[in-house]
């Protein structure tokens, strides 16, 4: 079955630096979504990019999608300690959303 794979599994940076996370998948999709999960909490939706879009911005987040390479990246600019969380990509082939294994981001103050 289709499953997103994320890279890296863990990322540790200093406050103010940019963080880039990558996601690869195997089959065609309707859209791709990114979620954040703080420790001990539920997932929170960050951004959705449709299969016919190449780039999308939301505040300090920038997502790209390359359907020919079946990959996406999430860039968080000017990171803050509060960005420390696990980040998951999820590929949508409705009604099914399939999550990747996640990237644990740690932003050190």
């Amino acid at each position: 079955s289709q499953q997103g794979e994320e890279d890296p599994q863990a990322l540790s940076i200093q406050e103010g630096e940019n963080a880039t996370m990558n996601c690869s998948y195997k089959t065609s999709i309707n859209n791709l979504q990114w979620y954040r999960q703080n420790s001990g909490r539920g997932l929170v939706h960050l951004i959705l990019i449709r299969s016919n879009e190449r780039e999308k911005h939301s505040g300090r987040l920038r997502v790209t999608l390359d359907t020919s390479k079946k990959s996406s990246s999430l860039l968080i600019t000017a990171s803050r300690a509060a960005d420390t969380a696990s980040y998951f990509c999820a590929t949508d082939r409705s009604p099914r959303l399939t999550f990747g294994e996640g990237t644990q981001l740690t932003v050190n103050p």
């Binding site: 539920g42 099914r96 399939t98």
Partner: protein, 111 residues
């Protein structure tokens, strides 16, 4: 004002017991989901209901039985609990092919 709520938040029980987790959403969404997140944070879909009809039923032991009394509620009943059922269970809801809203999770520990 909680969009998706789950009860209980924590559940500790003995092997062999039967337990239920309840989920409610006040967003007016048509579709609800149950996910299981294991100790490595891998999130796997278990079930999905659209307007009270089952639309996703993954390879889950039949000890797990979802019930949707109405489109705002999706409960999960688990019979004969096993050690391997220990995990965090998340409920979520969505409207069509869009973002999903997750509940806070229920941490199930089977002793």
């Amino acid at each position: 004002d909680t969009a998706v709520s789950q009860t209980p938040k924590y559940l500790v029980t003995q092997m062999g017991n039967d337990k239920s987790i309840k989920c409610e959403q006040n967003l007016g969404h048509d579709t609800m989901y149950w996910y299981k997140q294991d100790s490595k944070k891998f999130l796997k879909i278990m079930f999905s209901y659209n307007n009270k009809e089952l639309i996703i039923n993954e390879t889950v032991p039949n000890r797990f039985s979802p019930k949707s009394p109405d489109k705002a509620h999706l409960n999960l009943h688990i019979n004969s609990l096993e050690l391997g059922d220990s995990a965090v269970y998340f409920c979520a809801s969505s409207q069509e092919a869009s973002e999903q809203f997750f509940g806070p999770g229920t941490r199930l520990t089977v002793l």
